[in-house]
């Protein structure tokens, strides 16, 4: 047994308000550069929806992740090593920029330079790839809050088997937000797909990274990742991905997306696992058993035998101690309310989600139920297949049971605390009904509702005794006085600057801001 520590994130979806703060702060920190203009290491999708890039969850089309061969062994869905090398000149599974969106900017100068006019001036959109004017048909968050759902609601792969029951009446439609980052998988198919061996998983903390000096731009990681969370920088011709903000995490600080999360939905901690068992777990025959097997892979950090084994595998002592306080271990294993996104891709993803109760509750009030009565909620969970089965397709390979259990636990926690508020004591049988102890319900409440900062983020610092130095090394390189990307990559300056706006002047020869004059009588 080789014990390793790995960072993990859990997001409680009920609390996500879809504000995109995480996406914008991440973008400002990491991908506000030429070449990564279309890249969002963190993005927030409205579900149901086809996502970013379009239809990324449809692995029959993109061939990401792993599958089992006839002998029940793991193989990359896109094919073996020889097949890959034969196709190295053109990767058939690679998405193009149109599957994400064509990055654009506006010629803002035309607003300030416009001559006096009766009409409001317009800044037209220009592609950042060609410099030409484009007609916007798709962009980041195009589907936000179900925009365009009437056209694409059923194209969401998680709708499979539910088409019959779905109605698009305004009252019955449901939506939820799904923030996504790289999953820092335990069995990463991106790493396995990289022909150059430039991608790697760090032994100390499980963060998956791209070695920029070794990447040769073969692009197989991009197509190999079923979550499409490796991106191709089209200027440097190299792969880039979410780094789990390792420069921050090594110093004990949460990732930028977590730090700035308005809804406080994110939890970061470490789990201990047995490196030697990973492949076997990923090859679990029935995909619906994958979650249980994955949970079993997380070792109990309070078990003296595990602690001893971890010491032998030289996991630092403070890391073992941090694993014992890990909020993610509690949510995923102890309380059993969190699930990985699409476990059936077999990459053993390490960003898990607490399924949202809100779609069920919303639907209940439409049906005339009382969403405050636990019996009603339990009945609804059982009978309203739509949100539950949808969540199951998203989080548990279609198995509704674990999702139901989690939703019941969330309901029980609410009812328990409500009763406690009103009568001074919670109903302990509620806890027993959902298979938890009252103190576990209390813990769940503390984590989800109170969510104190240092209980949401239990991040041991890296052992390199030069703490702080990392952050200055790895900041974004677009800063005043930094390297000039245009010159570095030999692009014409005009590639990044929008075409000159019409600089026509006023009669008196001065350029005027567009202040409207009273029309001549």
């Amino acid at each position: 047994m080789r014990v390793r520590a790995q960072f993990m994130m859990v997001m409680a979806l009920d609390k996500c308000i879809g504000c995109h703060t995480c996406s914008t702060t991440c973008k400002q920190a990491w991908t506000n550069r030429t070449g990564t203009d279309y890249v969002w290491f963190n993005n927030v999708e409205t579900k149901p929806g086809i996502g970013y890039p379009k239809h990324y969850e449809d692995q029959n089309r993109w061939n990401g992740g792993w599958t089992l061969n006839r002998r029940g062994r793991l193989k990359l869905k896109s094919g073996g090593r020889i097949k890959k090398l034969m196709r190295i000149f053109a990767n058939p599974d690679l998405p193009t920029i149109d599957d994400y969106y064509e990055p654009w900017s506006y010629d803002y100068a035309s607003l300030t330079n416009a001559p006096k006019s009766d009409r409001a001036p317009v800044a037209t959109a220009h592609s950042r790839l060609t410099g030409e004017e484009i007609d916007l048909q798709w962009g980041p968050n195009w589907e936000d809050d179900l925009g365009g759902a009437h056209e694409r609601y059923l194209e969401d792969p998680n709708m499979r088997g539910l088409e019959e029951q779905i109605t698009l009446d305004y009252e019955n439609v449901f939506l939820m937000y799904l923030p996504r980052i790289c999953e820092h998988c335990m069995n990463p198919s991106c790493v396995a797909s990289c022909p150059s061996g430039a991608m790697y998983k760090r032994e100390e903390d499980g963060i998956v990274l791209v070695d920029q000096n070794k990447c040769r731009g073969w692009r197989f990681c991009v197509s190999g990742c079923p979550y499409k969370k490796v991106y191709f920088n089209h200027v440097t011709s190299k792969a880039e991905k979410c780094t789990f903000c390792y420069a921050r995490v090594e110093d004990g600080e949460p990732t930028v997306c977590s730090e700035t999360c308005v809804g406080r939905i994110r939890y970061i901690g470490i789990v201990l696992y047995d490196l030697d068992a990973v492949t076997e777990v990923a090859a679990t025959t029935d995909e619906q058993d994958l979650i249980e097997a994955h949970r079993d892979l997380f070792l109990d950090p309070h078990d003296p035998e595990v602690i001893a084994a971890a010491e032998v595998s030289s996991v630092p002592h403070d890391w073992i101690e941090a694993a014992g306080r890990s909020p993610v271990y509690a949510l995923a294993k102890d309380l059993g309310v969190a699930f990985p996104l699409h476990p059936e891709y077999r990459t053993l993803p390490m960003v898990w989600y607490v399924p949202p109760l809100s779609p069920v509750v919303d639907a209940m009030s439409v049906g005339g139920y009382d969403a405050e009565r636990p019996e009603d909620v339990f009945a609804a969970i059982e009978h309203m297949r739509i949100p539950v089965d949808y969540l199951a397709n998203l989080l548990t390979a279609g198995d509704a049971k674990p999702v139901e259990t989690a939703l019941r636990r969330l309901t029980a926690m609410r009812a328990f605390k409500r009763e406690e508020q009103l009568t001074g004591a919670g109903n302990e049988s509620l806890a027993a009904d959902v298979g938890l102890r009252p103190d576990q319900l209390e813990h769940l409440f503390r984590l989800l509702a109170l969510a104190p900062y240092d209980e949401r983020y239990v991040i041991p610092t890296s052992h390199r005794e030069e703490t702080g130095a990392r952050q200055s090394e790895h900041c974004s390189i677009d800063f005043p006085g930094g390297p000039d990307l245009a010159a570095t990559f030999g692009l014409e300056e005009s590639n990044m600057v929008m075409p000159e706006a019409d600089t026509s002047r006023d009669e008196d020869g001065r350029v005027r801001l567009n202040v409207r004059e009273a029309p001549p009588r």
């Binding site: 060609t130 040769r216 692009r219 089209h234 030999g490």
Partner: protein, 248 residues
Amino acid sequence: MNNVSMPDILLFLVLPYLAMATFVIGHIWRYRYDKFGWVSRSSEIYEKRWLELGAPLFHYGALMVIAGHMLGIIIPESFTEALGISEAQYTLVAQVGGVTGLVICLSGMVILLLRRVLNGRVKRATTRIDVAAMSMLWLMVILGTLTTVGYNVLGPGYNYRPSVAVWWRSIMLFQPDVSALNGVPEIYRIHITVAWLFLAMYPFTRFVHSWSAPATYLTRPYVVYRHREPSPPHTPGVGKRWRTIGRD
């Protein structure tokens, strides 16, 4: 060295060694100072349909053509004769193989060139060094086509193995024998000269990705684990001037 003209010495003795020196030193320099820029610079993300057609044609065709050149100039005529392969038989095989490779390679090149010119995104991402490299490649391949198809298949025919191949081996073995080229048709001479220039340019273009053919992928374990780097990797020459060479 007596019956050799001065231009011949310049073009077939001085130029080859200069080109070889540039080729070797250029690669070492590029690897050392611009490892970050050592990439394929793929444009597949911009446009895929034509690339999926053109790129494999070009690459597989080019590999065939390179293999054909290697066989032709490395293996001495005496060796194939000793194996009982006559000059006529050899020429037939070489011409069939050569023309096949050429047709595949050229059709790929035509597709890729049209794509690069007609697709706004790909065109915009083309740098000056790309234009130079591609012009040189096109020139070299057209001249090669003229020698193989124009001169050999359709024209009078010429056996380059006792002359050009002998000279090439003499250059490689550092015992240059320029006189072996006496009487070689002009078209061959021009093709050879352009090829040396192409090689001299090679380390500074995107062609360097050819050396990174990832053969180790066949044997390494799927998932790569690494320790956290003890210190940031030291990259010499990160200044602007170093960085621009090889890309523009």
